[in-house]
């Protein structure tokens, strides 16, 4: 089902990768993008935005229903359904001898 631009999607559940930070999201505007949704989720879930050099961390939203990572540019109304579960997964570095 494709949501119209003025529709809102009810009740998504979003977790971090550990499953220990969980939020529900209601009234998600279907015309928005997945990237905008992720931007709104990061402060709500107290997730860090930047790496040690101040560069933005990249988070991907994995849609559990389809087992795939959503593109940031995907329209929410096209990609998501009410009740969907998302997992925010960072692309994040460990290591770095010089800064140790």
């Amino acid at each position: 089902m494709r949501f119209a631009d003025n529709d809102n999607i009810a009740m998504l559940e979003v977790t971090d990768v550990s499953g220990q930070k969980r939020v529900t999201v209601d009234d998600v505007h279907s015309a928005g993008t997945v990237g905008e949704l992720i931007d709104g989720l990061l402060p709500e879930m107290q997730l860090t935005r930047n790496d040690v050099a101040g560069r933005p961390l990249t988070y991907h939203a994995r849609l559990e229903r389809e087992g795939r990572h959503l593109h940031a540019s995907e329209r929410i109304g096209d990609a998501l359904r009410a009740g969907d579960r998302l997992v925010l997964q960072p692309n994040i570095d460990a290591g770095g001898v010089a800064s140790g």
Partner: protein
């Protein structure tokens, strides 16, 4: 909302005490909140409440310099009396912000590269709610949900009796950590095999509460090696596919374990191969450390106060060494742990009998 009553800055001074500048900083309060939540859980608050607690965070003014200088912070749960539950946090909580401030001042030409400096945090009343203003305009409504973390009721005494303390001995952290020797053996083998590259994985296990002493402790039960990583000698990237694979592994085990931390290797024998063994023994790299990238990963993925980071150092002059790091008063510090299970020699014999010895 806690800690919004003040804005913070780092006051940088030269060694003679003359002022260089005050650099405004945004403070990440989540590790403070998580520490307060862990202490509340330890006091017996039910997990659904404890892991959702909001905190009040106030500056602790410097005793000799007074306002606006800080010697730290005080934090307590918003629904508990300050007198009984307030916890102190050192001004060193802002060390990384101070480092960033100094870097900025060097870039601005106000500090020389390599110049020694002094710093103290300062706080001033905040006029407006800047935090809310800075949030992206996302029309959705968000509601935080309690995580499904329920400490198991397990007696601590018998665990301690069959465990061996790590080299760092006893620890006054609010929770003991137990790691099976089997896990240490497996990660050291993986680390050694991956050299000259770094490698890593996720630690899984259970949070326990001793029913008599009301004491929390953490038990690592296993690890899941991280695949789909990008690695070289000084770098290990956990990609989105890594997390998908780890979560699938956790579900497949179906033992109600949670992610309790992560591990990674330092291929020190590769880093230090140009040096003599004698020099390698004295090298700072041979002592376990977490880099700033490591700390950022820990903060991003494992902010809960009980989470740990295990480091295996693959060194040329001895068998691998292990260091465990965890949260303490909002900062990531090296900490003690206990090992469980048979000694390595006994493990090797068991593996041989089982026919899986390489």
């Amino acid at each position: 909302m806690p800690a919004k009553g003040h804005r913070y800055a780092i006051h940088v001074m030269r060694e003679d005490g003359t002022s260089v500048a005050q650099v405004p900083v945004e403070v990440d309060w989540e590790p403070v909140r998580e520490w307060v939540r862990l202490l509340a859980l330890g006091r017996g608050r039910v997990p659904a409440e404890a892991f959702q607690l909001e905190c009040i965070i106030e500056p602790a003014w410097h005793r000799s310099r007074a306002r606006p200088y800080l010697e730290g912070f005080t934090a307590w749960p918003v629904d508990e009396p300050r007198a009984e539950t307030a916890t102190s946090f050192s001004f060193l909580y802002l060390s990384e912000r101070a480092r960033g401030a100094a870097t900025q001042l060097v870039a601005d030409g106000k500090l020389q590269e390599g110049e020694r400096f002094l710093w103290l945090p300062v706080a001033f009343p905040r006029d407006t709610n800047d935090d809310e203003a800075a949030r992206p305009d996302c029309a959705a409504r968000f509601r935080s949900v309690a995580p499904e973390i329920e400490p198991r009721r397990t007696a601590l005494g018998p665990m301690l009796e069959r465990a061996t303390p790590s080299e760092r001995g006893a620890d006054d952290a609010p929770l003991h950590v137990f790691v099976p020797r089997r896990v240490l053996g497996e990660v050291s083998t993986l680390g050694h095999d991956a050299t000259p590259h770094e490698t890593g994985g996720i630690l899984i296990g259970h949070l326990h509460r001793d029913p008599d002493a009301s004491r929390l402790f953490l038990e690592v039960t296993a690890h899941i090696p991280a695949h789909h990583t990008e690695a070289d000698a000084t770098h290990l990237a956990f990609t989105p596919d890594t997390w998908t694979q780890v979560r699938a592994g956790l579900e497949l085990r179906a033992r109600h374990e949670i992610m309790v931390g992560w591990w990674h290797s330092h291929p020190v024998r590769e880093w230090c191969k140009q040096c003599t063994l004698e020099k390698q023994r004295e090298c700072p790299f041979a002592r376990g450390f977490l880099s700033q990238h490591d700390k950022t990963l820990h903060r991003t993925v494992f902010p809960r106060g009980f989470s740990v980071a295990l480091l295996v150092n693959d060194v040329a002059f001895s068998s691998p060494t292990y260091s465990l790091f965890g949260w303490r008063h909002g900062m990531i510090e090296r900490r003690a742990f206990h090992t469980l299970g048979p000694q390595p020699r006994q493990l090797a014999a068991e593996a041989h009998e089982a026919g899986d010895q390489p």
